[in-house]
Amino acid sequence: MLAKRIIPCLDVMNGRTVKGIHFENLRDSGDPVELAIRYSEQGADELVFLDIAATNEKRKTWRQLVYNIARHIHIPFTVGGGISEIRDVEALLNAGADKVSVNTSIFRNPQLIETLARQFGSQCIVAAIDTKPFDNSWYVHLNGGRVQTQTRALDWAREVSERGAGEILLTSMAGDGTRNGFSIDITQAIATSVPIPVIASGGAGTMEHFAEVFEQGRADAALAASVFHDGDIHLRDLKTYLKSRQIPIR
């Protein structure tokens, strides 16, 4: 049976992870490779690395880091941040990334999804959608949430799926950082409207939240950052808990 996936997300700046990460017995808490190995040993199903300071001059460092991660971990990982062209994707996949996450660039140029899917296969193209509600509707936001668009998240989700994205990474900006729980309504609306898997993100605070987003939200995977980094939820405990709720978990 196909398991629901738990995905820790690491924000990386200049080759180091940012945000406080509190693991016991970790000498150097900022090294993305060391953290990746640690999470993988604890039972993470996948990892996501976001380059939060993506600039042209730093691309080379980023690719070198992706290469080092790929050499050391034996679970799949996605990289994102500032990807706007075919050659960016090619360089990251060649460095060993399994998937790339694209956001603003595909919204500005939706045909890019088809181009990337044709060249690299749908399975490695993750369409990231950041969304926030306004007047009872969820709208797509760009540039890390700073720019609101007039496009409804559900419509955009259908479009990225039809154009060939292999997965949707749905971040609720209403939930992000609040720890009040995933946004179940929009997650469920999208997960039941597209044939491709949906990764829910934003709002994880308790183990119960993960159960909710799988059971009611119908998400295929759940992504979180701070609850794992701060040590508030241990991956192994979370997986034991979800199994006890009869949710299929590796």
Binding site: H74, I75, P76, Q123, P195
Partner: protein, 198 residues
């Protein structure tokens, strides 16, 4: 021991090389017929699209090379599908080792069956030496929209609405639909078993 990983424009093949490095094995990534023929083990990986991958292999005469290999060969994901007779993906004729028609997963009207299948799925009815002590119902990492049905050469099953071949074996040809190079410790074990066959 020399292991050759067949290079073709099917995408990321360095993951397989990294996985072999982690278990202390050396492997070369190559599309050179001589290097492939003289290797002790051949890995035929693949992420990407079936018809363009077959085209690449044909243009270099590698289709015939692969078919006639006598050493243990391991097809992974698209590599496994290309070892079959035919794939619906791009209406592609394969290498014909396994007498199978590779089909696309059918999306259901309620959209409960996700395609592509992405994630950790259990494998069962394990019946090949490449599994060694890997227990029944272990999780392996799969990423695919097309699948090989069950047949007499099926040596592991997985299920996505219906059961399908998670692994095939015939003579010196071994093939897995999942990615052992991305399947954690169990995947690593499988690669070790493959390198240690006979």
């Amino acid at each position: 021991m020399k292991t050759a990983i067949i290079q073709y424009n099917g995408g990321n093949v360095c993951s397989v090389q990294f996985a072999l490095e982690r278990i202390g094995a050396n492997a070369v990534i190559t599309d050179d017929a001589e290097t492939i023929l003289s290797a002790d083990r051949v890995i035929f990986p693949g992420v990407g699209q079936a018809s363009s991958a077959m085209q690449y292999l044909r243009n270099r005469g590698l289709d015939r090379v692969i078919k006639h290999l006598r050493q243990p060969v391991l097809g992974i994901c698209l590599g496994m599908q290309l070892l079959c007779d035919h794939s619906e993906e791009g209406d592609t004729s394969g290498l014909g080792i396994f007498p199978l028609q590779v089909k696309r997963f059918q999306v259901t009207t309620d959209l409960s069956l996700k395609v592509p299948l992405i994630g950790w799925n259990t494998i069962s009815n394990l019946a090949s030496p490449v599994f060694g002590n890997i227990p029944e119902n272990s999780y392996m990492y799969f990423v695919h929209s097309y699948y090989a049905p069950l047949c007499e050469y099926t040596v592991a099953q997985a299920c996505h609405a219906a059961p399908y071949s998670a692994a095939l074996q015939k003579d010196n040809f071994y093939a897995v639909q999942f990615h052992p190079e991305k399947s954690g410790d169990d995947g690593q074990q499988l690669l070790k078993h493959f390198l240690n066959l006979y």
